[in-house]
């Protein structure tokens, strides 16, 4: 009964929201992504046995797979941390109604168990299991193995929410996760403790003695109950209040005066970034961004892939721009009405955002100069990408903002809203990265590396030269969407 009500509430919340169009578009895109991943996993599941047979002719593919389970757990934890969020539900109106707190929590946790992230591994696990049975493995063993794998997926599911909850509390964002998984991986890699063989031995023991399956089930139940405890505690309105009535440190940020008329907005933006959890996470993401090049550059295989230099250049110098910029002006949605009734110049308001984004690009390109260690071309590509970011992407993202109709509630301390960063956040970044890469690649491929660089720089410089004109027309666009934005930002959800 209860569950039926919850589902109908969520259905209405989705279809009656002001940003339905955008949400639908995103859902459709996510749908395509989901199909893509399902097909990929299916292919993996089918092909895994022959691949392993070929790669490790000496060993039993079944054993080899089990030694990989440990890495799957680590990788999946990291993926989920960034992409899977606990289903959000507005619970406040329900708290005083005749609905048991327990059933709200069970519903939310139960719903998370149906997550795509838990179903996806089955697309690989089941075909692989069937192949095993087909190859005359003991059917019972294989079935037990498949069940164990699914339980592990659920364990990862609930473990992830605990990690998210802890890191949301500590304000360290993803650092604890990276440290823990990094340490586990390191210990395993340098063979201090071989977790991969421990996990593998455990799974094989379970398949040999199906009764042992109660151990993972026990872990799963333990994690579920711990999540239950965490969430139930959060169902009290004052739960998030108790811990912190933060002492406010004020600073007058006098140095922003140099920016003239833009100064008040600059100060506001800086405070926005620093004093609210969600925008602050965009600052922490900078750390990932800056280090992103290290995933590629040290690898000799990528040394001559020049299009990668452009991609990483755009990403590394533009990560703040993309993360922060795509929520302009939604960051200010809470008090947008007030801004609109004040005597402000829209252009100054937008210019403040522009200055902020441009400054971030300049700082990032300077910080990433040490990448020159991997080659001069990389440095040059990064500078070209930075100029492109300043001259093109800043305007594109500001313009896109005038279509923004989704409110961001900075003040919300809603239970279960751990970070507000999900897969969706990256979708809008895709065109911002694909275009420059395409431009660079075409010239790079057709003419030379230098031509590609020049093409990017020219695009950027043209944008910078046209700054006044572009800002004026973007401002116009904002003014025409003023009423629509005010009314959309006035709605919750």
């Amino acid at each position: 009964m209860k569950i039926k009500h919850f589902i109908s509430l969520e259905w209405k919340q989705f279809f009656r929201s002001a940003s339905l169009g955008k949400s639908l578009a995103i859902k459709i895109f996510m749908g395509f992504m989901a199909v893509y991943f399902m097909v990929s996993f299916l292919a993996l599941g089918v092909a895994l046995f022959p691949i392993l047979k070929k790669a490790f002719p000496e060993q039993d593919p079944f054993t080899v797979v089990n030694t990989f389970v440990f890495f799957w757990i680590l990788g999946d934890l990291i993926m989920r941390f960034f992409f899977q969020k606990l289903p959000v539900m507005s619970v406040k109106p329900l708290l005083t109604q005749k609905v048991k707190r327990n059933s709200i929590v069970h519903y939310i946790l139960g719903k998370s168990a149906l997550s795509f992230f838990n179903i996806l591994p089955l697309f690989a696990i089941v075909p692989f299991g069937l192949t095993l049975i087909f190859k005359d493995y003991n059917a019972l063993t294989v079935v037990v193995w498949m069940i164990t794998m699914f339980i592990i997926a659920l364990i990862i599911n609930f473990l992830n929410f605990i990690i998210e909850s802890v890191s949301a509390e500590s304000e360290l964002s993803f650092l604890p996760l990276i440290v823990i998984t990094g340490t586990l991986f390191g210990l395993n890699y340098f063979e201090v403790i071989s977790f991969s063989s421990i996990v593998s031995d455990g799974i094989i023991a379970i398949t040999n003695n199906p009764l042992l399956v109660i151990i993972p089930i026990g872990i799963l139940i333990g994690l579920y109950l711990y999540n239950f405890k965490l969430l139930k505690h959060k169902l009290y309105l004052d739960a998030s209040l108790k811990s912190k009535t933060q002492e406010v440190k004020t600073s007058d940020l006098a140095w922003t005066r140099k920016f003239g008329d833009v100064a008040p907005f600059m100060q506001l933006d800086l405070k926005l970034l620093w004093r609210n959890k969600r925008p602050r996470s965009t600052v922490f993401i900078l750390i990932i961004g800056v280090l992103y090049g290290l995933f590629f550059y040290p690898n000799p295989a990528f040394q001559d892939k020049e299009f990668l230099f452009a991609f990483i250049g755009i990403f590394v110098t533009g990560i703040f721009l993309i993360n922060f910029g795509q929520f302009i002006p939604a960051w200010d949605s809470g008090y947008y009405k007030m801004l609109m009734s004040q005597n402000i110049k829209y252009e100054d308001y937008l210019k403040s955002k522009y200055v902020l984004m441009t400054t971030s690009v300049i700082i990032l390109v300077i910080i990433t100069i040490p990448y020159v260690y991997f080659g001069w071309k990389i440095l040059i590509a990064h500078f070209a990408a930075a100029i492109y970011n300043i001259g093109v992407n800043t305007y594109v993202i500001l313009l896109a903002g005038s279509f923004n109709r989704k409110k961001i509630d900075l003040n919300q301390r809603a239970a279960f809203n751990y970070q507000g960063t999900g897969a969706v956040q990256w979708l809008l970044g895709i065109p911002l990265m694909l275009f420059p890469i395409a431009i660079f690649s075409i010239f790079n491929f057709a003419i030379s590396f230098e031509a590609g660089i020049i093409a990017l720089v020219v695009c950027g410089v043209v944008g910078i030269v046209l700054h006044k004109k572009l800002m004026t027309s973007i401002t116009k666009k904002y003014i025409t969407s003023k009423y629509a934005m005010i009314s959309a930002f006035d709605q919750d959800n």
Binding site: T245, V248, N276, G334, Y336, K337, S341, Q342, N343, I486
Partner: protein, 235 residues
């Protein structure tokens, strides 16, 4: 000062506001009363150009509000908490508004200092963000912010709601002072008939978007209003 001409706002087939002619002279303290859905907030939103009129226009000091923005320098408002910036302290918020309205810190400090009584020691130097203040204290901060920069027109939607009795009385003093001594045009809306009749020289009753009464406040006004709303209850 503020003239509404043939003004209406329609959503679909539902007309929520229809005012043929309303002229509010300079320096008047003007009260708007009416039941929920009578169109009070709609009128104020139109006045601030937050929504567009379906027909007609409002002029504020001879400036049509939905065509030019030149009314903004001398007009200020506090409609609801969405006028506050939650992650600022009260002082920072006042300075920010001050800056938008061309006032330096000293100006703002001098103005805010006059309201020490009104704040009752709960707003300034609290080292708290506005979002962490209670509803009533948020309202106090918002109302005072609307007084920054010597506005000639001040619009307050439901200023008495959520305030404690002491503060309500002090607020009445502030509003009277603005209109009588400083010649500011003050527009307020309220559900509290006693407060509006205390404060406003003129009271307009809205019902389903239309003006049904336009009274100059006198001894008899409160009785008349009470009679009116008691009667419409039985309708």
């Amino acid at each position: 000062m503020i003239i509404s001409n043939d003004l209406s706002k329609t959503y679909g087939s539902n007309t929520v506001l229809k005012i043929n002619n309303l002229d509010i002279p300079k320096g008047q303290s003007f009260g708007l009363v009416g039941n929920n859905g009578a169109g009070k907030t709609t009128y104020f939103s139109l006045l601030l150009d937050l929504i567009q009129p379906t027909t007609g226009y409002i002029t504020n000091n001879n400036i049509r509000v939905h065509e030019s923005e030149d009314w903004k320098p001398f007009t200020s408002a506090f409609i609801d908490e969405s006028f506050l910036i939650g992650y600022l302290t009260a002082e920072e918020y006042f300075y920010f508004i001050g800056e938008l309205r061309g006032q330096n810190k000293a100006d703002v400090d001098a103005l805010v200092a006059q309201f020490a009584d009104f704040f009752h020691g709960e707003i300034l130097n609290q080292k708290k963000y506005l979002r962490d203040l209670s509803k009533g204290n948020q309202k106090k901060a918002g109302i005072v912010a609307a007084l920054i920069g010597n506005p000639e027109v001040i619009i307050l939607d439901e200023p008495f709601a959520n305030l404690d009795p002491t503060t309500q009385i002090r607020l009445k003093g502030i509003i009277k002072d603005l209109a009588e001594k400083q010649g500011v045009t003050v527009l307020i809306s309220s559900h509290d008939l006693l407060h509006v009749t205390d404060v406003c020289e003129r009271i307009v009753v809205l019902e389903k978007g239309e003006i049904v009464k336009d009274l100059i406040t006198s001894e008899a006004t409160l009785k008349e209003l009470e009679a009116h709303f008691a009667a419409s209850e039985t309708l």
